[in-house]
């Protein structure tokens, strides 16, 4: 006899709920078995811990349509190669540090955690280590800079939101660096998208298209001041506004104003390089030369939070920003900087004749 559907009988719906749940659970179990195989260290998506001995990148895969980690030739970490046991021990230690300091309650890992600090999935590959923290911490390598930063984060702030000192020892910091390097080699299906890679300037081509990357045909036209200012204003807000503020007045004590004539007071370690470059005098920000201005935007000021933007921005954008800064935000120099000037500045600058460089000291 056919089973008739009795609308008012809960048993029908109960059977439906039970069978649905069981089917879904069975599927989940199968998928779990497959996924766990893929994500174990050495699986298809997650590298073995010894990947910390190799050069890691993040490259765009045309077929997949997103970025995937690239694992390259040998690249010693802290000047040495780690065995499987040693690497495993470092990763295990690193995870204990991450948990004991509750890093996930400020930062995210693969986008999971808290949203006060930046995502750390590809932190090992962040350009800021080379451009910002290596000079700031006075270290020679990226990993040493990270260790120094982690041990004394309060000494190297880059923004108004600061990382507190968490009592991280050198041994713990080393383990954390290894952890970050290993984690950056995990294939996370393209998250985070379009992450910038370390610019190995002059040696290798950039692995991924960068923001405003210079095309193979460099800009040769002469642009009007109006055009440059229009482009420069937008670029200024995007790249400079975080610290120098949209109104160009900076943050007292930390980030200098762009507007000439504004008073500025800060630690000597910041005022001295500014004065050397002609941008600070008698307690006020003054208008330095175009050449120094372009140099600062391209290369930053080593030993201070000002990063170089030469790797990120093309010649036209740098020219536009400098032109805007010198003709807007309360300044009226009438100076116009072209892309060709910026290109010449890149070519002409060497480490030894730059003011404030460590090789000169």
């Amino acid at each position: 006899m056919a089973q008739t559907f009795d609308a008012g009988d809960p048993a029908f719906w109960r059977a439906g709920a039970i069978s649905t749940t069981i089917v879904m659970l069975i599927v989940l179990v199968f998928l779990t078995i497959d996924s766990l195989e893929a994500i174990r260290a050495g699986g298809s998506h997650v590298p073995a811990y010894t990947v910390i001995n190799q050069d890691i990148g993040y490259v765009y895969n045309l077929q997949l349509g997103y970025n995937v980690p690239s694992i390259g030739k040998d690249q010693p970490l802290f000047g040495r190669k780690y065995t499987e046991e040693e690497a495993h021990a470092l990763i295990a230690k690193g995870k204990l540090v991450i948990q004991s300091r509750a890093c996930m309650d400020c930062h995210t890992f693969f986008g999971n955690g808290a949203y006060y600090g930046p995502d750390l999935t590809k932190a090992w590959l962040d350009p800021a280590w080379d451009e910002l923290w290596t000079p700031m911490t006075g270290q020679k390598t990226r990993e040493d800079a990270i260790v120094e930063f982690l041990m004394h984060p309060e000494r190297y702030p880059t923004w108004s939101r600061e990382m507190p000192n968490l009592g991280i020892s050198r041994e713990e910091a080393i383990a954390l660096v290894a952890y970050l390097k290993w984690m950056s080699a995990v294939d996370a299906n393209g998250f985070p998208a379009n992450f910038g890679t370390i610019q190995t300037r002059g040696r290798l081509p950039p692995a991924v298209p960068r923001l405003g990357a210079e095309a193979s045909a460099p800009e040769t036209r002469t642009l009007t001041q109006a055009d440059l200012v229009a482009v420069g204003e937008k670029a200024y807000v995007t790249h400079c506004g975080a610290c120098h503020q949209a109104n160009g007045l900076g943050v007292p004590g930390t980030f200098p104003p762009i507007t000439a004539g504004q008073p500025f007071s800060a630690p000597e370690s910041l005022l001295k390089p500014l004065a050397e470059r002609g941008f600070f005098k008698d307690g006020k920000i003054v208008q330095g030369s175009v050449k120094q201005h372009v140099d600062i935007v391209l290369n930053g000021i080593p030993g201070t939070p000002m990063p170089g933007f030469g790797a990120q921005l093309d010649d036209t954008t740098v020219a536009a920003i400098v032109t805007f800064q010198r003709n807007g935000l309360g300044n009226h120099t009438g100076d116009v900087v072209q892309a060709a000037d910026v290109r010449a500045a890149r070519a002409g600058r060497t480490a030894s004749n730059a003011p404030g460089s460590t090789t000169g000291r």
Partner: protein
């Protein structure tokens, strides 16, 4: 009144107290975004956040436990089995929570060793509590499960609602075992962590609140048991049918295979369906009573539960669940917007509704009414929706600038979060958070005072 119901009132009191701890943690954390040097470095952001999110879990769990202790004797016609033991566990739970939170604030962190894991801070979101406390929580839950199951055995009775609840308690307790291990491989750690978090708040907790709401609706609106049971089975079928593989929407970006983007995205997209069902169900039941009962606060909070669950979990979730969008929204304030709205709608409103239901009986009021409940209802909901809206603005700005345009580097992070859309959203969020906090204070006042004076019964129209 049964002993079990007296215990329920203790649990409800604890829940509301911890709700206050959550609010304080939230205010501090929200202020940090606007004024980063606030209480810095004595109380850094991560500690305030731990108080906030762990306070959330604890107050909701104690609310659920209280609700079950409240309804159980009525369902089975006898006192809860082992209620004296349950009372002892309650006081142990309170002491443990107090110690854990005090250690979070005063000690904050230990070294990278097992001592820290056992006694200070385990540092995994929602389950930061050290292992000794996690063991305590497991014991409390086991006693709770024993109470429920053995009361039914002694009563030689079972109802559909209770059967669903008891079966649901098994995964609820077992999943908590993920609170213990230190797993060095972050991908594997997150894989199992999401079994705990997702299968709690998007599966077992949904089933549990479904059972609790079913019990509440029978009392509040005299909805017939059979109808409530049918709806419960339909909802459970839909929640688990979509939510079990909807777990995959947490497996897009943690290193797991690519097929999770399709599977997780698809099932997650269906997750609003059961929530829509709950809304229609609530509208029907409340509509037959013309939105008038002898317990208006409980009714209004129940409606807030239905709508909040649908909008916060269903609509807000749907906006960000497709992988192409989630790639950019993942791990931003957009997530926070969704989280606040969903937790509030799905669970907080339901717990508050049940507390008002219990108070009606406790205070012996024929009609439970006050002026204050309307104020706290308005302020809390306006505050919450304001926070959610502000966070959506900040979150969309962050997804736009930091992830989509900027590529998630440190520079992108700084630039995006300095942008006016982001910063102004954070200021607005803090302002609405203050409104929410005021609403909370009013709620406490109302819960302490409502029903203590006689209110004349209104003339109820026939359905």
């Amino acid at each position: 009144m049964y002993q079990s119901q007296r215990l329920a009132l203790k649990y409800f009191t604890a829940a509301i107290v911890v709700f206050g701890v959550m609010v304080i943690g939230g205010l501090i954390a929200a202020t940090d975004f606007v004024q980063p040097r606030f209480l810095y470095p004595e109380l850094p952001f991560n500690i305030a956040k731990i108080l906030h999110i762990d306070g959330l879990i604890v107050w909701l769990l104690t609310g659920f436990i209280g609700a079950v202790y409240w309804f159980l004797p009525g369902e089975l016609g006898r006192e809860t089995e082992g209620v004296r033991l349950a009372e002892i566990m309650f006081w142990i739970l309170c002491a443990a929570v107090a110690v854990v939170f005090a250690v979070f604030v005063l000690v904050q962190y230990g070294g990278s060793d097992q001592f820290a894991m056992w006694f200070i801070n385990q540092g995994r979101k929602y389950v930061e509590a050290p292992r000794w406390a996690a063991i305590g929580i497991v014991l409390v839950m086991l006693v709770f499960a024993y109470n429920v199951v053995f009361t039914a055995i002694r009563a030689r009775r079972m109802t559909g609602i209770l059967a669903v609840m008891m079966i649901d308690l098994v995964p609820l307790v077992v999943l908590y075992l993920d609170a213990f291990p230190v797993i060095e491989n972050m991908s594997v750690d997150l894989y199992w962590w999401w079994w705990l978090v997702h299968m709690w708040v998007e599966a077992t907790w949904e089933v549990l609140i479904g059972c609790i709401v079913a019990l509440a609706l029978m009392q509040l609106l005299n909805t017939p048991r059979r109808i409530v049971e049918i709806w419960l089975y339909i909802e459970v079928g839909l929640v688990l049918g979509t939510g079990i593989l909807g777990l995959g929407h947490h497996y897009f970006w943690i290193g797991t295979p690519q097929y999770w983007l399709g599977i997780g995205g698809l099932f997650s997209a269906f997750e609003p369906l059961p929530l829509l069902g709950m809304v229609i169900h609530a509208v029907y039941d409340a509509g037959t009573q013309h939105m008038k009962t002898t317990n208006q606060p409980s009714l209004f909070w129940m409606m807030a539960e239905a709508f909040g669950n649908f909008l916060g979990g269903g609509m807000w979730g749907f906006m960000m669940t497709l992988p192409q969008i989630n790639l950019y929204s993942h791990g931003t304030q957009w997530t926070v917007s969704h989280g606040h709205f969903a937790f509030w709608g799905a669970y907080a409103c339901g717990v508050i509704s049940v507390i008002y239901l219990a108070l009606q009986k406790t205070r012996g009021a024929e009609v439970l009414e006050s002026g204050a409940w309307k104020w706290s209802f308005a302020l809390l909901n306006i505050g919450l929706i304001g926070m959610v809206g502000s966070l959506l603005v900040s979150g969309m700005a962050q997804a736009f600038y930091e992830r989509a345009i900027g590529g998630s580097t440190l520079q992108a992070f700084i630039t995006a979060q300095s942008s006016p859309w982001f910063t102004q959203g954070m200021v607005a969020r803090l302002a609405f958070g203050v409104i929410f906090a005021v609403g909370y204070v009013w709620l406490v006042y109302d819960l302490l005072t409502i029903g203590r004076r006689r209110v004349p019964a209104p003339i109820l129209e026939p359905a």
